[in-house]
């Protein structure tokens, strides 16, 4: 039997640190995951958990001279970290495309929308300007811009926020990338527009046969479209599993906290939405042992050594970093999600 093909993308023990005046900030500290063909991976975590830095590192978009990278990012079996810069440019936008949080500022204000999309096409394909423009207009139609022939010549400031994010998606998909990385694509948008953009990404990933990595701080955003979800906390993945596992059988108390902070209609109404007590830890001097320990209502002495990310109480492909034994965990979990033991 032939060995199984390598996953589309495999990140192995990625570490990213920044040398600053106050010390070394370990923004990403040993993250590993894989992404299969056509899969949608959600990466969830609060600000500063290292989710964006992880994905920016995949495309080598961090050109801070104080950044230090370790580990491997294997794209189709090749380590992206070792690619020469000109080969890396072919990957960027050609094979792995990325869209960003704020569509208001992500487009260049001085060029027409179609020209910016055409620029992405012309960078990777040997076609004429007219053909690139035609394709840009087609893409704008595909992402749901009405009257695309007319709007193509608009400048970004003539587009609404949702339209700009659509234009960004059109630009990202222009070269049929294998992977689309969306870094908080809906955070800066109105709630109704958020849903539209997520639907659009869900539809287009099939049309373009792209895998998607969706970075968000909101579990509600990935609930609809993700196949698997990774939860990041303080530069580490603390839980990783299929969507159903993660929503219905969450293993890590931090995930419980995230779940508890989503307003839900299928639960009795609470007086107030509960939040996770405390602040995210310093990445310069993270707490010893489990990094969530200082904020965890269930911490006990064993948490002073950090658990590895491995299969514990969850399903066969459900990994987490928590010492609590699965049986006692189930007993406290629901109350934690409802916020009761956070108050206790």
């Amino acid at each position: 039997m032939a060995p199984p093909p390598p996953p589309l993308l495999e990140v192995r023990d990625l570490k990213v640190s920044f040398n600053t005046e106050d010390g070394v900030v370990r923004a990403v500290d040993g993250v590993s995951f894989t992404l299969g063909q056509g899969e949608v991976l959600g990466i969830v975590g609060e600000s500063g958990s290292g989710k964006s830095v992880t994905m920016m590192s995949v495309l080598r978009l961090i050109n801070d001279p104080n950044a230090v990278f370790e580990g491997e990012v294997l794209y189709k079996g090749r380590n992206v970290m070792d690619l020469p810069e000109d080969r890396m440019r072919e990957v960027r936008g050609g094979e792995i495309a990325m869209i960003f949080q704020d569509p208001m500022t992500s487009l260049n204000p001085v060029y027409r929308v179609a020209d910016q999309i055409a620029e992405a096409i012309l960078t990777h394909r040997a076609i004429g300007k007219a053909a690139a423009r035609t394709r840009a207009v087609d893409l704008l139609r595909q992402v749901g811009i009405s009257q695309p022939e007319r709007r193509a010549d608009d400048f970004p400031h003539q587009f609404s926020g949702g339209m700009r994010q659509r234009a960004m998606i059109a630009m990202a998909l222009a070269n049929d990338p294998d992977i689309l990385i969306a870094d908080e694509p809906t955070t800066a948008l109105d709630v109704t527009i958020q849903a539209q953009i997520l639907d659009l990404i869900a539809r287009l990933k099939d049309e373009f046969a792209s895998a998607v990595i969706l970075i968000t701080h909101d579990l509600g955003v990935v609930a609809g479209i993700a196949d698997r979800i990774g939860v990041m906390y303080a530069g580490r993945l603390v839980e990783f599993g299929g969507k159903r596992d993660l929503f219905y059988d969450p293993q890590h108390p931090y995930t419980w906290g995230l779940l508890g902070s989503i307003p839900r209609l299928d639960r009795p109404k609470q007086d107030r939405l509960h939040s996770i007590a405390g602040m995210p830890p310093s990445l310069i001097d993270p707490p010893a042992g489990c990094r969530f320990r200082p904020r965890c209502p269930h911490a006990f002495d064993r948490c002073e050594t950090e658990p590895a990310l491995e299969v514990r109480g969850g399903g066969a492909r459900h990994l987490d970093r928590c010492w609590l034994d699965p049986e006692s965990k189930r007993a406290v979990r629901d109350r934690t999600i409802r916020g009761e033991s956070a108050a206790a």
């Binding site: 992500s106 001085v110 620029e119 990777h124 003539q158």
Partner: protein
């Protein structure tokens, strides 16, 4: 567009009116400037004084004098200098204008090219020793007063090293019209150009560098990089293009000020008979008609340049373009 031009023209008239009235009032408020003295010659009889005052309208009320002066300046165009009655003011300005334009345009070309080169180079070489080095050189350029730099240039090229192979080509101070001898025109102007440009090269290079570094952190530059563009294309098409918005508006105003007579020191130091030199001489002898004319000339170009900058600004930045 038509509305824009009309608005600008009205603005121009208002500015010119205000500035001429102001110049007029300052002149007559200055003690000891009575033009009769220079007009009537040495030890004049009271009759001569009265006749001269009448001839030049100085015996009329101030508003009347103002109107008379404007009429002679704009309509009959026969306003003469108080100091030298053979000097007609309007032809004098017309003759001086090409000299000033030659000086300022040449210097502007040099300072635009060199400052973009320096600014971009500093950004590209950021992190190496060259970036701070270039910026120190730029700061030195800014810090050297143009009259001092000009005098030093003259000392070296006209005197100390003039007889060596280095500067034996430098012609004596002065000006040769472009239409008369382009090569001599160039030789006469090259050192004034470099002198005048030195300050602006330094200033513009530093502004551009700061601007480029600002733009480098913009999200759209990250987008450009994520598209797979080369660093060169990101720098020229995305960073430099956006930085030009500031650069061009700054340039328009500096250029206008220089054309409007702000190159006075350079013209004086190098003996270039431009509008600046004319202003300088008229100020020395408190020669109101010539001062008035040069002030109007300057205000005119600055207002025009302002309008041009506004148009260019809208061309460069679609966000402020009227739709």
């Amino acid at each position: 567009m038509a509305l824009f031009i009309v608005r600008r023209l009205i603005g121009l008239v208002v500015v010119l009116f205000a500035i001429t009235v102001l110049t007029f009032l300052i002149f007559f408020a200055t003690p000891g400037v009575d033009p009769t003295r220079s007009l009537a010659g040495r030890n004049p009889t009271p009759e001569t004084v009265a006749a001269v005052r009448h001839q030049f309208g100085l015996d009329r009320s101030k508003p009347e004098q103002y109107v008379l002066m404007m009429k002679r300046l704009f309509i009959s165009r026969d306003l003469v200098s108080y100091g030298n009655q053979a000097l007609k003011v309007v032809p004098a300005i017309t003759a001086a204008t090409p000299v000033t334009f030659s000086l300022v345009i040449g210097a502007a070309v040099i300072w635009i090219l060199l400052s973009i080169l320096t600014g971009v180079l500093a950004v590209v070489l950021k992190g190496s020793i060259w970036d701070p080095l270039l910026m120190i050189v730029a700061l030195i350029g800014i810090s050297m007063p143009v009259f001092w730099l000009g005098e030093v240039a003259n000392l070296i090229t006209q005197d100390r090293l003039h007889d060596t192979f280095l500067f034996s080509w430098v012609p004596p101070l002065g000006y040769t019209p472009l239409t008369e001898n382009p090569w001599q025109w160039f030789l006469h102007l090259i050192i004034p150009w470099l002198t005048l440009a030195a300050l602006y090269v330094g200033f513009y290079a530093r502004v551009l560098r700061a601007n480029l570094l600002d733009v480098a952190n913009e999200d759209f530059v990250r987008t450009a990089r994520a598209k797979g563009l080369s660093e060169r294309r990101i720098l020229t098409r995305h960073m430099l293009r956006t930085s030009m918005i500031t650069f061009v508006s700054l340039f328009g105003l500096d250029f206008a000020v220089l054309v409007g007579g702000g190159a006075l020191l350079t013209e004086v130091v190098f003996g270039l008979p431009g509008v600046g030199l004319l202003t300088y001489r008229s100020l020395q002898s408190l020669d109101l008609p010539v001062i008035m004319a040069t002030v109007i000339y300057g205000a005119f170009f600055i207002t025009i340049a302002n309008a041009v900058v506004d148009i260019l600004y809208a061309r460069l930045d679609p966000r402020i373009r009227p739709t």
